[in-house]
């Protein structure tokens, strides 16, 4: 008797072996260690932590190694791991005003308390190759600053807020626990907590493109980079059984607060409105893009027209998630031959029927009944 040839399982196992070999590359070249990725590819690690929604530089580095540097695949690994972790509760709100600053710039003020702190940035590098990196070697020793930075620096929107010029942002009534879009299904209209979460884990490239579109006229944005800051912030947690806050450690965070115009309304005098971005690690482009889109998504709350993609929350929230998007785009690789056969059967039959009609001298369909 004839039986089906089956090789699916063996073929799948073979792909795993081939993948491992490809990932390793030339064995004559020394293998990279996750610690090297963590220390020397920190911006990629930050991106994976953001899009993977988990602050764990070691695991993000491992994910990058396992994913051959594919940040979406690495974020996917992190998320699939994250979903299995037990939850102990929510931390206390982070106080970015108490951030230990490494970089802090404001495009809105020439000078301000704490000053402009340029910190580590590519902004003023000329994009010329440093061929010395090919060989490796020691980096030059840092020249210490003449005076230490201020311990904390006020945030620009807070300075504006003292004057009543910045929209106030109070927690919603009763200060409810924030929505968790990794645990519940989003419905619309979505609250700001949902929007900010979705953008924080959203694809950096997608957020960048959307933010850019608001600047180019698809969203009427006139932002000032009120402040961008990078540094370490303490995170603390109140365990149910202790009843007091315990310090869990420091997170490296990037924060951007964009200042936007708002003409005011019947009840509110003219004031500035805020676009907010926050992300793990050094992720300046991400938080700036996020802040632009956050402001654009406030259109509905502020009674503005919402004509453009960046202002439409369903569009932004449903399409920002690159792990979901990649899964669905790439699922087209899966077999679809059952459905394709249905299409083939249809198109052949419609063509045959058309030829039969043409042969009989009819050149159009019999009228569909009204």
């Amino acid at each position: 008797m004839y039986v089906a040839v089956k090789g699916g399982e063996a073929a799948i196992l073979a792909t795993h072996e081939l993948l491992a070999e490809t990932r390793r590359g030339d064995p004559a070249v020394p293998e990279i260690a996750p610690a090297q990725i963590r220390e020397q590819m920190g911006l990629a690690v930050a991106r994976v932590m953001n899009e993977g929604s988990l602050y764990d530089p070691d695991l993000a580095a491992l994910a990058l190694k396992q994913a051959q540097g594919d940040t979406i695949e690495a974020a996917f690994l992190l998320r699939a791991y994250r979903t299995t972790l037990p939850r102990f509760g929510a931390s206390l709100p982070l106080d970015t005003g108490a951030m230990a600053i490494r970089r802090r710039i404001s495009a809105a003020y020439k000078d301000l308390p704490g000053g402009q702190v340029l910190g580590p940035t590519y902004d003023y590098t000329h994009r010329l190759f440093d061929f010395a990196l090919e060989e490796g070697g020691e980096t030059p020793a840092l020249t210490p600053a003449p005076a230490p930075l201020a311990e904390t620096m006020p945030r620009v929107p807070d300075i504006l807020g003292q004057e009543g010029l910045m929209e106030a942002e109070a927690p919603p009534e009763g200060d409810p626990a924030p929505f968790d879009l990794t645990r519940a299904s989003v419905s619309f209209p979505a609250g700001r907590d949902v929007r900010l979460q979705a953008m924080a884990r959203g694809d950096e490239g997608f957020m960048l493109g959307l933010g850019y579109s608001t600047q180019r006229g698809y969203g009427n944005a006139h932002p000032f980079a009120g402040e961008i800051r990078l540094g370490e912030v303490a995170v603390s947690f109140v365990p149910e059984e202790l009843g007091f806050a315990v310090d869990l450690g420091d997170l490296t965070l990037s924060e951007c607060q964009m200042i936007n115009q708002f003409a005011g309304s019947k009840d509110i005098p003219p004031q500035f409105t805020r676009g907010y971005g926050l992300a793990f690690g050094h992720a300046e482009r991400k938080v700036m893009s996020m802040a632009l889109v956050d402001r654009a998504l406030k259109a509905r709350d502020l009674g503005e027209a919402a004509d453009y993609p960046a202002q439409q929350e369903e569009f932004v929230l449903y399409h920002a998630d690159n792990v979901e998007a990649a899964g669905f785009v790439e699922h087209l690789k899966l077999p679809h031959y059952v459905d394709f056969q249905g299409e083939l059967e249809l198109i052949r039959r419609i063509r045959a029927e058309r030829e039969a009609r043409l042969a009989k001298g009819q050149d159009h369909l019999p009228e569909a009944a009204e």
């Binding site: 004839y2 699916g8 399982e9 031959y337």
Partner: protein, 307 residues
Amino acid sequence: MTRRAYDDGRTAAYNYAYLDEQTKRMIRRALLKAVAVPGYQVPFGSREMPLARGWGTGGIQITAAIIGPADTLKVIDQGADDTTNAVSIRRFFERTAAARTTEATAAATIIQTRHRIPEQPLAAGQILVYQVPLPEPLRRLEPREAETRKMHAWAEYGLMHVRLYENIARFGEVTTTYDYPVAVNGRYVMAPSPIPKFDNPKMDMCPALQLFGAGREKRIYAVPPHTRVVSLDFEDHPFRIQSWTEPCGLCGATDTYLDEVVTDDRGGRMFVCSDSHHCETRRAEGHHGPMLAAAASIHLVEKEDAA
């Protein structure tokens, strides 16, 4: 025993069937609502799964929430047990739930499927779990969820009928060949997932429980046993299913859904049952199609010496 370690190269221990118990409860609650309101899409807190979104995570989460040691699981994709994604999902449950698996439709208590309903009629007590990419049948007419939700709430399905009728005016028939919309229990219009419309009639008054999971879109819905499922149509253009002019090349069946296999680059092709287990069962019963020898020459089947 509540935890079962499985070897993934490390010593990680995952809960039985991967999902934690709180997640299973959340999915189970959604399933009960889905059963109570047939065809209505229940939002659920779809979890990140270790398989890609769009690759069956909705069906996997449902199976993980219902499966137990007494179950026997069958997984098919395109009707076949040996398709790569079916193999991958079957392995997932063998590893995480030590699942007993089968290819025999009648022996399975849970059948997880992508794109087909088995040819052999399902029986009472069986559960068919569909993987659903796009649960919203109105999505191609209206992209905004806030709007489609209202359309379902008010049973405003006129737009769907208009679209189907436009098809008829243009092509003489409804040109939807898969994921053909159905009305469930006379109330909700539902996407049956991308099964060929050939399979739609099998959903109607089916004695098995049918559960649908859309992981990426975070929706669960259901058709209880013995429930009316009607494919949308018009009196003057009744619903009809695909048919072929030739039988299955391997088993000679004339009443099954066929896949087309290209056999050479000179226009040669043959048609074979998409339901691989059904086809194999028929061959074991002595049915032979006209192309069996040709199929062996292109390694679709191989000759096994009778014991």
